[in-house]
Symmetry: C2
Subunit: 542 residues, 2 copies
């Protein structure tokens, strides 16, 4: 199997009326596809791939894979396609064959340079009452009026049940059915482009969700070389890792090519443990560039990375992995401390305006300093990286939702202080990101919610959540992640938008964004002329 | 504790008649030093260090450290100093205070540029009948006549017993007592420099030996983030790793500053697992450069690394870790296959002259190719790295000694073929290294030997060795590593040197080296004008 940027090579594709199915299953002795009562053998290719061309599977048909191992006494297992595009009956049911062809109307669309990004992060399930892509499409005029140039969708890969942040997704190629599936996402992207809005998609390449993950039946997707917060690491550099790397490279190319996504936000890439000579992210950028060149559209890669190592965002020429930009949590942390927030956990490393001034000047706060919280010297300077390589925010899904009660800044800080915090973000020489509802000071929480089906897992997540917050609980209990009420309580309340202080805040955000866009001193993200001076005794930054 | 390139800050030092003792023991509640019947408390400093200045310890005195933990019911342990310079009674006995001051006579010495290196790798214990540094010093005229410009000592850090390759060393700062200790090494280096020979020392920063390793009593020297062939990895990037990194940086500086070592050969740096923003090797190079600048002597770092990733040897400006050079095993592997050697294990990846031609041209053979043996795509091109960044050989301690019977090439290949193999090394655009005795086609083996004291470990090593070779054994048994006879059999037989074919081979090597040194086409290691053409059907390389 050789990656072809023009066309997906793994999973199920349609070509000239035939279905082509390619599965990476180096551990299998035989691989069969079961569909509509028939059972067909796949043929073995090089390096663990299995292939079948057939006219017996048509778009809309369901299919399952039968993995037969050579060891006697082991019953063959029936599994969904790891690269399935659709799981109509959930994670463990059959896969459904889809033809991703779509009548795009966005031929004229060109994604703006990231320097122009005003990013709006949203969670599809709780953004609108409908909780799906259509619910987002209906609000695009709200985005336009606000001045947003790019929406960022939290992960949409198929997850267990109907309620999940998206980081428990198991099938990276399947768009969550309850959100509207593949076609629904294509329609949303087309709509966004017709209104001049770019679409960033959050993807998770560092782990698979805990439920419905049977990838180990197919091949060495995991390695015990490393430990991660999620257990065994995904195999990016051990024997047979080519198959795993190709799986995710194909995924990335699919979003750009077949869904017209403009940029990917790569979740927690520090958990992608790779000592290969060519880092996975570097390879991802190489393929992304090939696709950009062949389509005349530029696609972008934005990494969430927590290492203060500009190797991730440096260009290839200086030994970098070539990510176009990265999230910068430190700006958030020190901004919150400056605003009077708690100084526990990772916040304990930050002192407020002094560090905020450093972040304005140097991007990373810890760029070779000793970090008491991490108990080690941390980071390296990123002085020559332009401002457009850093995404900053005063809140995001994690910083809100990982609080015990999921309180937004609007429940924690005075109204006037919210404005100052927004000002700090929009006056920064970095790419601003706001979290849905922030623009009208939404007071509803954004809590951690799941809809797992495995009772043991449900209980483990519940207990894990309690343990995590045991030190802070006092009289309060964390909300139950599995409860429908937790999800419902986290939905935005659009009825507030036009009322009282909420309307005021929305006006403020609109004007702030407009100011940012129209004044060259704020919209040119060149840090070289910037001076940031902290007056710590007045908690003030000039 | 702040590293001072002028003076060692950890372990025991003498300054103005006082002893200064600094111990990194972040896990301790109290640290005491016991010496000559007295017991003194060390004072706590920042970040886990403990310090004492005292006139109660003099050079030659023995001392032990008492580590008291706060947990009740745990008996305090008595341990040697992790940075001990001398262990007169073995690994678990007391440490001995040494003053490293030495009356150097090599003020005029300047190490030549590595481009001039003709390297002679030797194992102190088996190189001479004496088995110590004096035994080496007596043979320096042999080296000079041969044309050697640098000797490379296999590790000399204190190991269990008197017989060991050196990779089971536990105390990186203590020179093996049976070799002649610290003073013996200083004398050897001084002699070498007086004869114009540079000294390269092999150091092991990727693991500690299995016997006498009680470092975990002091602090988090280990992390379970990674697994290595030796179990838990040394902690180069986890919490409190600063103390571990400083330990090894101090070690490196000591060899250069206090022993006048010219270059370090860093053992298996691919097992130094470090995802920090500043890689440990990069930091090591920074300190090495500081010391070079302050002494007006240039010190070099040569890495053994098995990743075909030129990031290790690239300069800082292009995102490299700045190692001056690296070992290149692939050249050896494909040379051996070209010579008709077995094609099992890692040799299976190499086809002989075709790959040898590639190695001549491109250094790495697998530079982005799929490696069947590793089952993954491996390496990246190193086209712009000059030839002087690669050390090549037709045999070395590993390639000889890791065979079941430790046979040298002289027992495996025809005499004329040995000459061809040497020619291949000395005509390469890389730094040539020969393994002791190779120059006279020594026929004695170089076997794996140990002198552990722990019976369980002795048995485990024995069984491990048997298991390793079980597939190849046939009627033969691997030699017993723990047996004195195995060690004795591995000693060079200097009586051969002037006799028969051995004398012929020595003459050949002398002429080959002289040719290399005197013909600009061989001594300029610029690969840009090089052409290597393989004629596979004639097993011939032009």
């Amino acid at each position: 199997m050789k990656i072809d940027i023009q066309r997906r090579q793994i999973g199920l594709n349609f070509k000239d009326g035939n279905a082509e199915l390619r599965i990476w299953a180096p551990l299998a002795w035989q691989v069969l596809v079961l569909s509509g009562g028939t059972s067909l053998h796949l043929e073995k290719e090089d390096r663990g791939y299995w292939f079948l061309q057939t006219n017996k599977i048509q778009p809309g048909d369901q299919y399952q894979l039968k993995i037969v191992t050579q060891e006697s006494g082991i019953e063959p297992v029936l599994r969904p396609d790891p690269a399935t595009l659709n799981q109509p009956a959930g994670l463990t049911g059959p896969s459904k064959a889809l033809d991703l062809a779509y009548a795009w109307t966005d031929a004229a669309w060109q994604c703006p340079d990231p320097e122009k990004f005003i990013i709006y992060e949203l969670h599809t399930g709780t953004f609108s009452h409908k909780g799906d892509f259509k619910g987002i499409a209906e609000k695009l005029d709200h985005m336009l009026a606000l001045g947003i140039t790019a929406i960022e969708l939290m992960p949409v890969a198929q997850f267990p049940g109907g309620r999940n942040w998206g980081y428990d997704g198991v099938f990276p190629f399947a768009v969550q059915e309850s959100y509207g599936g593949a076609k629904g996402l294509q329609e949303l992207v087309d709509s966004c482009h017709s209104k001049g809005i770019a679409v960033i998609l959050d993807v998770v390449y560092n782990h698979f969700g805990p439920e419905g993950n049977h990838f180990a039946d197919f091949g060495p997707y995991f390695t015990d070389k490393y430990h991660t917060p999620w257990g065994q690491a995904i195999n990016f550099d051990d024997a047979q890792s080519d198959g795993v790397r190709s799986f995710f490279i194909e995924n990335c190319l699919m979003w750009f090519r077949d869904f017209h996504i403009d940029a990917l936000r790569l979740d927690a890439v520090h958990a992608i443990r790779d000592f290969s000579a060519v880092h996975f992210l570097e390879e991802l950028r190489q393929y992304t560039d090939q696709l950009s060149a062949s389509t005349n559209k530029t696609f972008y890669l934005i990494a969430e990375v927590d290492l203060n190592n500009n190797r991730y965002i440096n260009p290839f020429e200086t030994g970098g992995y070539g990510m176009h930009a990265q999230w910068m949590d430190e700006f958030h942390h020190t901004l919150r401390v400056a605003a009077g927030g708690e100084r526990i956990g990772y916040y304990s490393d930050f002192n407020g305006v002094d560090h905020l001034a450093k972040s304005y000047r140097d991007a990373y706060v810890y760029d070779g300093w000793y970090s008491p919280h991490r108990e080690k010297t941390f980071g390296r300077p990123a002085l020559n990286n332009p401002g457009k390589q850093f995404v900053v925010f005063s809140q995001n899904h994690d910083q809100v939702g990982n609080r015990m009660l999921g309180e937004r800044s609007s429940s924690l800080y005075r109204f006037e202080l919210l404005k100052v915090m927004a000002g700090a973000v929009f006056c920064s020489p970095y790419l601003p990101l706001i979290f849905m509802g922030e623009e009208w000071a939404e007071t509803r929480p954004f809590q951690f919610f799941t809809s797992h089906t495995d009772p043991g897992l449900i209980e483990a997540v519940r207990e894990g959540r309690k343990a995590e917050f045991s030190a802070f609980q006092g009289e309060q209990e964390p909300t139950d992640p599995q409860s429908l009420a937790t999800f419902e309580a986290s939905k935005l309340d659009w009825n507030k938008v036009g009322t009282g202080k909420h309307q005021l805040m929305l006006q403020y955000y609109r004007q702030l964004i407009s100011l940012r866009k129209n004044s060259p001193v704020l919209s040119k993200l060149d840090r070289s002329g910037l001076k940031a001076i902290a007056l710590a005794d007045q908690n003030c930054l000039i």
